[in-house]
Amino acid sequence: MVQTANSRYALSIENLTVQFGGLLALQDVDIVVPPGSRYGILGPNGAGKTTLFNVISGFVKPTKGRVFLHDADISKKPPHKRVQYGLARTFQITTLFAELSVLENILMAALVQAGTSQVFWKPVHNDKVAVSIAESQLHDLGLMHLAGKAVNELAYGEQRLLEIAVALASNPSVLLLDEPTAGLSTAEIKAVVRLVTNLPKDLTIIMIEHDLDVIFDVSEYLSVLHGGQAIAHGPADEIRHDERVKEVYLGES
């Protein structure tokens, strides 16, 4: 994990433009995320939020612009290398390993952290270090009772929690959450919010979220995207009262 103490920001995006053919998905976006903050990305459908996450995590190459994690320029790094810089993400559509157990799903991330993901000469369950990382992760999140279950036996709400747990097992300093409460019931949303608010304070969390109650509840800072442009940045309270934001986003709902 990368030292965060001396960085001015956890994540910085400079002048980011992404063009898919004729479509300008993101246009000259600048975002600076302070270390240890809870940062929300708000915007209507098609505003470019998921594209932004895909650029940060390396799945989409930007047409222009740079991405810094702490002080390192990660713009040219492939997705799997960015994990070493302390980045982890969840996906909007659950992409867990359905045939594996809950513990094995977390283990997949824990092995990388334990440095034993290349081991081919002994059963993975005998890897004490990785298993204990995975177990303590489940324990911390109160999911230990699910450890032996197959993912396809889990309720959807439990899968969303596991999605976050897997990302956390990568021991990130910056965590990207892509709509963690999408499709959940009110009770399940509460469980996700509780989990996110109880995460360590030195972990920087950047979250895309459609549920306005959730995002104003959790975030300290917000950026608002609209039509691929960042139209407003600032503390959550200011954004709530920003006229342009009301117009493009809050006004609609």
Partner: protein, 323 residues
């Protein structure tokens, strides 16, 4: 370790075959073990990593040709020649894998088929070196503690190799790398996001399956005392791919049984009919329609069993089969 115990147990049971079978059947079973082992290795690529290939006979055949040529053309000791054969296949796999794993699905299937056809074409056309359609006859078997020119003797060598390689595959499959293959199959985006180099994992699966094919290609050449273009043919690749499908993806034992069974069936049917490809096609249709999970779905998988077991038992809560 449950699966390893089963492999050793099955090996001990098979060791009685020379006492109960005639020479002909013992020979047939020796070959059946070789093709079963080949299919088991292919399961790591096709079943675990879900990379269907129509070219892995190339690595089986290349190793056979490498061995046979080293012995007959260069007078090299058969044991060293065997090593040369495996290294030849391994080397070609290492060179080809980075190209092949860049593509997926149907494109991957096509590129592996094309690659296999190149090796087949080379063996067929380069008559002065490879013997062309006639192949390379009179390949001597190596000297060993016991006589390998004896059917029983060769059967036991094959059985030992099969047990040893199967144990290695079994341990490999349950390792961190084996589990990462399943991860790549499930979601390669997620795997990259967790810090895995997906291309390198896919290449590893490709090379390991090629090495297993190579070992059995050498054994097959020694058994037949001959290597021919059939060992490089796409038909053999297809038969092995079918063995994995019929046996059940990712179960290891299923493809082994199916690979062995298909060879026995082929040999018995070829005496009475020339329509082996048709039988193969029918079998494929029947297995996909009536048994989509393959042979292995007839027995609850180890995974389901261990998850089931772990519900009640605290010590097995990892869903482990290793205790």
């Amino acid at each position: 370790m449950r699966r390893e115990k089963i492999i050793i147990g099955a090996g001990i049971v098979l060791a009685v075959l020379p006492f109960v079978l005639t020479e002909y059947w013992l020979g047939l079973f020796t070959q059946a073990l070789i093709f079963g082992g080949f299919a088991m290795g292919l399961d790591l690529l096709v079943g675990y990593t879900r990379m269907p290939t129509l070219g892995h006979a190339a690595f089986f055949g290349l190793a056979g040709y490498g061995t046979a040529l080293a012995i007959t053309r260069f007078g090299i000791n058969p044991w060293i020649a065997a090593g040369i054969g495996v290294l030849l296949s391994g080397g070609v796999a290492v060179a080809f894998a980075p190209l092949a794993v860049r593509v997926r699905g149907l494109t991957f299937l096509t590129i592996t088929l094309a690659f296999g056809q190149v090796t087949w074409g080379l063996a067929t056309r380069w008559t002065s070196f490879t013997g062309g359609e006639n192949g390379i006859p009179s390949v001597p078997r190596p000297d060993f503690i016991w006589d390998l020119n004896d059917r029983t003797g060769f059967f036991y060598l094959t059985l030992i190799v099969v047990i040893f390689v199967s144990l290695l595959i079994s341990i490999f499959a349950s390792s961190a790398v084996g589990m990462s293959f399943m991860g790549v199959r499930g979601s390669d985006t997620r795997m990259s996001a967790l810090g895995y180099n997906v291309q390198s994992r896919r290449a590893t699966a490709f090379i390991v399956a090629a090495l297993v094919a190579a070992v059995y290609g050498v054994l097959s050449t020694f058994f037949n005392k001959f290597v021919g273009t059939g060992s490089l043919s796409w038909q053999l690749s297809a038969q092995m791919l079918l063995a994995v499908v019929v046996g059940g993806f990712g179960s290891l034992w299923g493809p082994f049984v199916a690979g062995s069974g298909l060879h026995i069936l082929k040999t018995l049917l070829i005496g009475s009919t020339q329509r082996w490809p048709m039988v193969l096609g029918l079998l494929y249709v029947i297995s996909v329609v009536f048994l989509p999970g393959g042979l292995s779905s007839l027995v609850p998988t180890i995974k389901q069993r261990m998850i089931h077991r772990s519900k009640g038992k605290e010590h097995a809560r990892y869903g482990t089969n290793s205790k």
